[in-house]
């Protein structure tokens, strides 16, 4: 059997690797972006000079041939689903099963000037090359959109000492995802780095510099014009499915799949950013364009293709990011607006760069989510607490189990308990300091 995978991002590559682990099927991965798989999340570090492109590749180049995973660097122009054939720029390729891991493209909302040169998102290796190309002599960059990629791009230019203006639609950075306090913390941090953050600001238009490239922008609200040599468009991403829209594939925003990641066409699957789950598990979105879900979908679909039909189970939500110097981790369900039936315990360090938020049910006290800024918590422990519906008080007295900060770091668990005691008029005490032995025993134990 020949399995063709379009896209060599984390979803497509995970699929290929797991198919290889589970079977001897022929596997071909096609991508026009780069010959080899690299970590998209690390693009920023290449620009910042932390790493070379080479270092972002998780596997050495010989890995693919040794594991008999064929790589084709070419662009798929169309797919003939009836004949099970891919039409590439340079050739054609027949398949028995097809996995679409097409990824995303940066959103554009019809702004005048959005297709000028020196106007880019940050998603692909080519985007990075464009940023690099316009960097020499760049006096200012304007970034439109305040999500994770926006702040990454801001940090990138900032690392090269290029002044940055960020236009953010919201009242505070990423406050459609982050609760108010965390959002305020990141907003402060951005300003501490002397990044010109303009909140409640929308882009009106991008001006041509006279030679077909961006020369400045105008802000809708104020009419201010800002001169710049580069415009980063980062108002989110959407599934990269345009070239398939005219075909028989059922596409809404993304390629519609069932819980087995099957599309409406037999033997064709869609995973990762481009897939839209028609029946997502409660509390989850149909399209989740993050690294971790791409990896899970890749593994799931590989099982199904290799004969063990497996439903996609994204597990308990988790994610992470880094806002310049502030690390962020989330486990479970933490929204910007607290749900009616939930309470929240929010502790913030006096320095204003660390915080811990624990959400729990008003009724019964089961914890539902952890939001960490500048503090590392253990994935496995938090997940187990959430899965087991452990109560907030039981979590608090054992909170050291979750601490994942490096050795010698100050441990704030007692401060968090003290805050809870004050708020709830309780007398809880931390059971013990952190210890890996205790963690491992806890993880091995069944639900208390």
């Amino acid at each position: 059997m020949h399995i063709a995978i379009i896209g060599n991002g984390i979803s497509g590559i995970t699929t290929a690797r797991w198919i290889r682990k589970l079977s001897g099927h022929r596997v071909t991965v096609i991508s026009s972006e780069t010959t080899h798989f690299f970590s998209r999340t690390a693009l920023m570090y290449i620009y910042m000079g932390h790493m070379r492109y080479e270092d972002t590749k998780p596997y050495e180049d010989w890995f693919w041939e040794k594991n008999k995973i064929d790589l084709i660097q070419d662009h798929v122009t169309s797919i003939n689903f009836d004949e099970k054939k891919l039409i590439l720029n340079k050739s054609e390729l027949s398949y028995d099963k097809l996995v679409l891991a097409l990824g995303s493209k940066s959103n554009k909302f019809g702004w005048p000037g959005q297709d000028l040169d020196a106007v880019r998102g940050l998603y692909s290796y080519q985007d990075l090359e464009q940023m690099e190309k316009y960097t020499p002599g760049l006096k200012r960059a304007v970034i439109v959109g305040g999500g994770l990629i926006g702040i990454e791009m801001a940090e990138m230019f900032h690392s090269r000492k290029i002044p940055v203006t960020m236009l953010v639609r919201e009242d505070s950075y990423w406050d459609n995802i982050l609760p108010a306090e965390e959002s305020a913390m990141v907003t402060r941090h951005i300003k501490d780095h002397h990044i010109d953050l303009r909140l409640k600001s929308n882009l009106k238009e991008i001006h041509d510099n006279g030679s077909g490239a961006a020369g400045g922008v105008t802000i809708a609200e104020t009419g201010d014009k800002i001169d710049c040599g580069f415009v980063g468009l980062t108002p989110g991403v959407s599934p990269n499915v345009n070239f398939l829209k005219e075909g028989p594939l059922n596409i809404e925003r993304g390629i519609v799949v069932n819980k087995y990641l099957e599309t409406n066409i037999p033997d064709v699957y869609a995973i990762g950013d481009c897939a839209q789950n028609s029946e997502p598990v409660p509390g989850r979105r149909g399209i989740e364009a993050v690294w971790y879900t791409g990896r899970m979908m890749g593994e799931t679909v590989a099982n199904t293709i290799c004969g063990e039909k497996t439903a996609y189970d994204p597990g308990i939500w988790f994610n992470s990011a880094k806002f310049i110097d502030i690390e962020y981790q989330v486990y479970g369900d933490v929204r910007n607006q607290l749900a009616e039936d939930q309470n929240t315990l929010y502790w913030e360090h006096a320095g204003g760069q660390r915080s811990v938020r624990i959400n729990y049910m008003k009724n019964g006290g089961a914890v539902t989510g952890f939001n960490l800024m500048g503090i590392r918590y253990r994935h496995e422990v938090c997940e187990k607490w959430i899965r087991d519906q452990t109560t907030i008080e039981s979590v608090l007295v054992n909170l050291s189990l979750a601490n994942f900060d490096p050795e010698f770091y100050k441990e704030y668990e007692s401060d968090i308990i003290e805050l809870y005691n004050r708020q709830e008029n309780k007398q809880l005490k931390l059971k013990s300091k952190r210890s890996l032995d205790k963690v491992l025993r806890f993880l091995a134990s069944s639900k208390a």
């Binding site: 690390a42 570090y45 910042m48 992470s320 990011a321």
Partner: protein, 602 residues
């Protein structure tokens, strides 16, 4: 870069320039008073010949000319005394006291270096205090001016521009391989010359190198695994290359021809006299510079990682052990007429520990000497395995060790240059364990000779194996390649490929230790920061992205992988439980738990 930093770097370059040029700022005059030898017969003969040849009291402007003149004089005196000895040595005089032994002519540290130093006169020797401040003093000032302003930056990972900098981005793989090959061949050829034409050891070494190459490429199939991960930057960083050459030349001069470095030793003479009461040797100079570099660059390390308490504590620890335990304490012991002893230096890194002269010296020094002897043996046999069991090899390699201390401070800007390819890992395992075997065989032979008095085992002489080990491993590998190649192959070249103690600690760490790096569930995004900044060339990401805990014999526990991780994935930990299970199972893959049909990636 702030203005202060720019001034700092300019001052540092000026200081380094004066320091380098200062090697030529002496004149040399051999006089009866300056001549330092340990036999009156030698002295009389040398003075006699020097007079005849018109050398005595003549002023030489050039160091090179004087050294060569003095070496010839020494050879002439040796020949002349040998001839006289033919006619008969005076009654009651030992032969070694009458004739000049070969080692006194060949080994720079015996007669050549002290006499060149003693004959120095003129601008630098007469103004050594001034020059101390213009070189070392100004260098420290410049370094600190460059480093201290970075305490003003917002704390966080500061790796911006490392691969853009000519100083830190490394050089292309082919020139790097050429530099390494040329250095190895050069050292081996010099070895033949140094060992008076003995080709056995150089040939054996070349044979072993060839064997390792064969094992890696043909036995382990590395030849099929191409292309390997490249370590080349896009453009070679020439500043780094120049820095590497400077360091390499420094080590070659220091180890083998220190008579050309006498002016530097003169700069630190007063400090040595005030500490131990003795004039400075080249080792005093080296130790003094070593401590300064570890301290100043340690401050840089603390500034860079000041948000990370593990790094701060660890850096203070290496500065303390280097300056106080490795440098000051032995000097003070000397002042107290006790044996020179570095309490934290452990066999087999301290390969001279079981040499006859060291054992005899310690035994002859009474109670304190016996204590030192027992301390050294207990550290090796009990200390290493027990402490490593509890904390991993990091307790030594990145907290205590001097080589580690230099690597973690001076070497920190170069940690990203370690080769992460599988082939490098394969070379590493053969080479480092090979050196351990070499050290053990050498020590067994030396001890055999110590206890039996017999100098040969089969056809091998314990004197020659010990001499060759010191030359090849102690000087060539640890110094010239180990440190000289910081800007070319990363800061742990010696620790990773050569240190026999690291190999020993690593075996304990791998097979019986509570230490591991835990990975945080599924949070890894495979970005590669951890692997890039692993100075030991461990592909940390390969484990992290599968959610496996990491136990690797080479890991020195520096903690930088954990520090640079943008997603909080890695943590250095000690525990007694589940170490095997958690290093083999794959935990990021959420459905693996439900099915046992999965096989680990090969």
């Amino acid at each position: 870069m702030t203005l202060i930093q720019k001034i700092g770097i300019i001052l540092f370059i000026i200081a380094l320039g004066i320091f380098t040029l200062s090697l030529g700022l002496s004149e040399y005059k051999l006089t009866e008073e300056s001549l330092e030898v340990d036999s009156d017969y030698h002295k009389t003969e040398l003075i006699q010949l020097a007079k005849e040849q018109g050398i005595l009291n003549k002023t030489y402007n050039s160091n090179i000319e004087f050294v060569s003149t003095f070496k010839n004089l020494l050879k002439d005196a040796q020949a002349s005394l040998n001839a006289k000895a033919e006619a008969g040595i005076p009654e009651g005089v030992q032969e070694w006291n009458y004739k000049i032994g070969d080692w006194k002519v060949n080994d720079s540290d015996e007669y050549i270096f002290p006499n060149v130093k003693a004959a120095s006169t003129g601008l630098l020797p007469n103004n050594s205090g001034l020059f101390f401040w213009l070189t070392i003093g100004l260098g420290i000032l410049g370094g600190l001016l460059f480093i201290l302003p970075s305490f003003n930056l917002i704390p966080g990972i500061k790796n911006d521009g490392i691969y853009h900098s000519s100083m830190t981005r490394g050089l292309k793989v082919n020139p790097r391989a050429f530099a390494l090959g040329a250095t190895i061949i050069g050292v081996l050829l010099y070895g033949v010359f140094k060992m008076n034409g003995d080709v056995f050891w150089p040939l054996l070494t070349a044979l072993v190198i060839g064997l390792i190459y064969y094992l890696v490429f043909y036995k382990q199939g590395q030849k099929e695994l191409t292309p390997a991960k490249s370590a080349s930057p896009i453009h070679t960083g020439w500043l780094g290359v120049i820095t590497g050459i400077y360091l390499i030349v420094f080590y070659i001069l220091l180890y083998w021809v220190p008579e050309y470095l006498t002016n530097w030793v003169l700069l630190v003479d007063p400090i040595s006299r005030s500490l131990s009461g003795n004039p400075a040797s080249k080792w005093f100079l080296y130790g003094f510079l070593y401590c300064l570099v570890v301290a100043v660059m340690g401050i840089r390390m603390i500034a860079k990682y000041r948000h990370n308490k593990y790094q701060i504590v660890r850096t203070i620890s290496v500065i303390f052990f280097q300056t106080c335990i490795a440098f000051l304490l032995p000097e003070i012991l000397m002042r107290l007429n006790m044996p020179y002893y570095d309490f934290k230096n452990i066999w087999p890194l301290n390969y001279t520990f079981f040499f006859d002269y060291n054992i005899n010296n310690l035994i002859a020094s009474g109670g304190i000497g016996i204590f030192m002897l027992v301390w050294g043996i207990v550290l090796t046999i009990v200390g290493v395995p027990v402490i490593t069991y509890f904390f991993g090899k990091r307790w030594y390699c990145s907290w205590v060790c001097g080589c580690g201390g230099l690597a973690e401070t001076l070497g920190d800007p170069y940690r990203q240059l370690s080769d992460k390819s599988l082939s490098a890992w394969r070379f590493e395992r053969w080479i480092i364990h090979g050196v351990l075997v070499f050290a053990v065989i050498m020590t067994i032979m030396v001890l055999y000779t110590y206890f039996t008095g017999s100098r040969n085992i089969l056809f091998l002489s314990s004197d020659s194996i010990r001499g060759w080990y010191g030359f090849l491993i102690g000087a060539g590998f640890a110094g010239v390649v180990g440190t000289g190649f910081y800007p070319l192959m990363g800061n742990r070249t010696w620790c990773r490929f050569g240190c026999p103690l690291a190999a020993y600690l690593g075996l304990v760490q791998k097979y019986k230790s509570r230490f591991r790096i835990t990975t945080n569930g599924g949070q890894c995004i495979s970005c590669g920061n951890c692997s890039t900044y692993c100075e030991m060339g461990i592909d940390v990401r390969a484990y992290a992205q599968r959610g496996q805990d990491i136990v690797r014999s080479s890991c020195v526990g520096c903690g930088v992988c954990s520090a640079v991780c943008p997603r909080g994935v890695l943590r250095l930990e000690n525990a007694s439980l589940d170490i095997v299970q958690r290093t083999t199972q794959i935990r990021t893959n959420h459905i693996a738990e439900m099915s046992d049909t999965f096989i680990p990636i090969q």
